[in-house]
Amino acid sequence: MTTTDCASCADERAAGAAFCEACGRALSSAKACPHCGVPGGIGADGYCEHCGMLASRPRDHVEADYGSVAAAVTDRGRRHHRNEDAAWLAVRGTDVDVVVCDGVSASFDPDVASETAAGVAGALLADDPDVAKAILSAKDAVAELVKSGDPRRGSSNPACTIVAATVRGAEINVGWLGDSRAYWLPAAGPAEQLTEDDSWATHAIAMGADPQAAMRDPKAHAITAWLGADAGPVTPRVGAFTVKDPGHLILCSDGLWNYLTDPAALAETIRENLRTGGTLVDAARGLVDFANAAGGADNITVAVVPVLSLSSVKE
């Protein structure tokens, strides 16, 4: 207990006490500010009463840990001022619903868009594994955002990407809009990308451009489909797979795959983390740490779901 006086009422008699004698506020239980270290100074709005820094944002780093069934981690990264990615992970027995969304930074309130989309799509998947339907509902919900909140949403409406998947035994459904990805990671060999980015680079490569040059282009990451009021009529792309051998379903935002564009390197890095991480959530966190160590230029989200593995059968 290092508090010498009360931060709320500046009463000096509080020295060494657990509660301020004058105003009764708890002194020692209050957390120290991670920026300036002054204890007990975090205000109700989350800012330090001393240095003014935001002590923490709940979305800066969020983990979902379903033991050996599934795990997801989303992180602000090192360059962005907030986490505009959002994830949904729901587990019922061995059934898993997972959604990853990445807010479009150029839009207003993209963090609200991603959170809305992940929540709406994820909740629908519990009753109906039709990912296309869930994505379209998410699109409607994100498009509605323009009608509420800050008026600036009108000129630059909230927007985000989405990738959603359901795991029902060996059956996997996946759907997406934008450049957030799903991969199938077999026990050995390179990862198999289940999605195809709705991005300028993918489009250019499909039209015959040199893949290396296309990815280096400043427009490479410009997405060609998204959720939002200005998205126009969109058709989510979908895929359905029946898994034959055990492996892992991976969903991630470009904050991770940007540092692992080679499917063999991606597979190796994930397997490395699964081996050394111990639990699934450790592995997911390890992947986030990997992206942060590589620069953390964007928000990072990754979900890891083992399919047909011994452990998931056991649950």
Binding site: D45, Y47, G52, M53, H81, R82
Partner: protein
């Protein structure tokens, strides 16, 4: 809660940037049921110096004072001061305040006929008497109207001394009739006492001016509203300005209030909306850092009516940090407009036509670009505006004194911009 406070800003700062700007719009729907939360006291101060005999000013002032008395609600305390070389209470008995009723108003109106022009101008003494009368009713909405037609005759520095001692005790709207009074002198009083200043060029306009001021004052429901600004350590408030409906610098009125916080007086409030520009210098943050640069509260005593946050978020993304907030840019321009006009008038008076032309040119450009047509029209009485867009103006050889004084007093009037980014 009848008050709202909303901050408009671009919170994103480039790395190394330390200046945080925000426009805070404070709106009140007035107190519950539109009733005053406290009592109210009105004092009318009428210059009765010898010069008021000219152009029928005295009789017009009598008419105006009578009209203002008629506007006072029942139950409001009031008094009338006759301003000569000393301050003389015209109504009610010296040292007393009357309580408004049909009978007391009629009594006051008949007393106004005793008002005779003779003697000098002693604004410091008049205001001091007003402050003494107001002090009988602490907590009241305290408002005075000061009418004069000439220079203050008191020794240099006395008025300033009085203003320093009575600042914050009451608000005072100042009106100058004719063209022989000094705009800076009345502006000094209005700034110290959070009131307005304007010219009434023709005595015939006095009645309407008095009625307007009194009606507006009767619409005030809260006596003493303040803007409380909390800032983090290692930061300083560069300025706090009211920027709408008119520019008024409040920076110097700072009163410390607890750790890292201070209050700035806003005066009395009714159902109205005003904008404030707050500029804070903070310590620079790292990429991704988010700082609360200021917590702005609208307070009355210990009651917090509304709160708004001014934030700083440092980013490497120049697309975000270079965004111009329309509100901040607009009001920065409106404040520059007022400064340019006042500098132009000063330069013209001192014979520096070159500087005057440059300043008025800039003012014409700013007024035009921001859609402040009232100011643009006033400018056109002092200069010929050849091209407002480029700020090309020519000084007029002959300018009516009243026009220049109107431009001077109204230079601080601002207009709003549409909301949204």
């Amino acid at each position: 809660m009848p008050y709202t406070a909303e901050a408009f800003q671009n919170e994103f700062l480039a790395l190394g940037a330390t200046e945080v700007n925000a426009i805070v719009t404070v709106t009140s729907s007035g107190s519950e049921g539109g009733r005053r939360t406290s009592g109210a006291t009105e004092i009318i101060i009428v210059d009765a110096s010898g010069s008021m005999q000219a152009e029928g000013r005295m009789s017009a002032a009598r008419q105006a004072a009578k009209a203002a008395i008629e506007c006072i609600d029942d139950g409001v305390h009031f008094a009338i001061i006759a301003g000569v070389s000393t301050a003389q209470q015209l109504y009610p008995a010296p040292g007393q305040l009357a309580v408004s009723s049909p009978a007391s108003r009629a009594d006051a109106i008949s007393n106004i006929d005793r008002l005779q022009a003779s003697g000098g101008t002693a604004m410091g003494a008049w205001l001091l008497l007003a402050a003494q009368l107001f002090s009988q009713r602490p907590g009241d909405i305290a408002h005075a109207i000061l009418l004069t037609d000439g220079d203050n005759g008191e020794r240099a520095g006395y008025l300033e001394q009085v203003l320093a001692s009575i600042g914050g005790k009451f608000t005072c709207d100042c009106r100058g009739v004719g063209v022989n009074w000094k705009v800076p002198e009345l502006r000094k009083i209005a700034n110290a006492l959070l009131g307005t200043v304007d010219i009434v060029a023709q005595p015939a306009g006095l009645t309407a001016a008095f009625e307007e001021m009194m009606t507006k004052s009767m619409g005030k429901t809260s006596a003493d509203v303040q803007l409380k600004v909390w800032t983090p350590v290692n930061s300083t408030v560069r300025f706090v300005k009211q920027v709408e409906p008119e520019v008024r610098d409040l920076t110097g009125k700072r009163v410390e209030d607890g750790p890292r916080a201070a209050r700035y007086p806003l005066g009395s409030w009714g159902a109205e909306s005003r904008d404030y520009h707050v500029c804070i210098d903070v310590a620079p943050g790292a990429a991704g850092d988010e700082m609360l640069a200021a917590r702005i509260s609208i307070v009355e005593g210990d009651t917090v009516h509304a709160q708004s946050l001014v934030r700083a978020v440092w980013t490497e993304d120049t697309a975000l940090s270079t965004r111009i907030n329309r509100q901040v840019a607009h009001y920065t321009g409106q404040a520059e407009l007022a400064d340019a006009i006042q500098a132009g008038i000063e330069a013209r008076k001192s014979g520096d036509d070159r500087t005057a032309t440059i300043k008025f040119g800039r003012a014409a450009q700013l007024a035009h670009a921001s859609g402040n047509t009232a100011t643009e029209e006033l400018l056109a009485t002092v200069v010929d505006i050849e091209d407002a867009a480029t700020g090309t103006v020519r000084l007029r050889r002959k300018v009516e004194a009243a026009d220049e004084m109107a431009l001077d007093t109204r230079s601080t009037k601002t207009v709003r911009v549409g909301r949204g980014q």
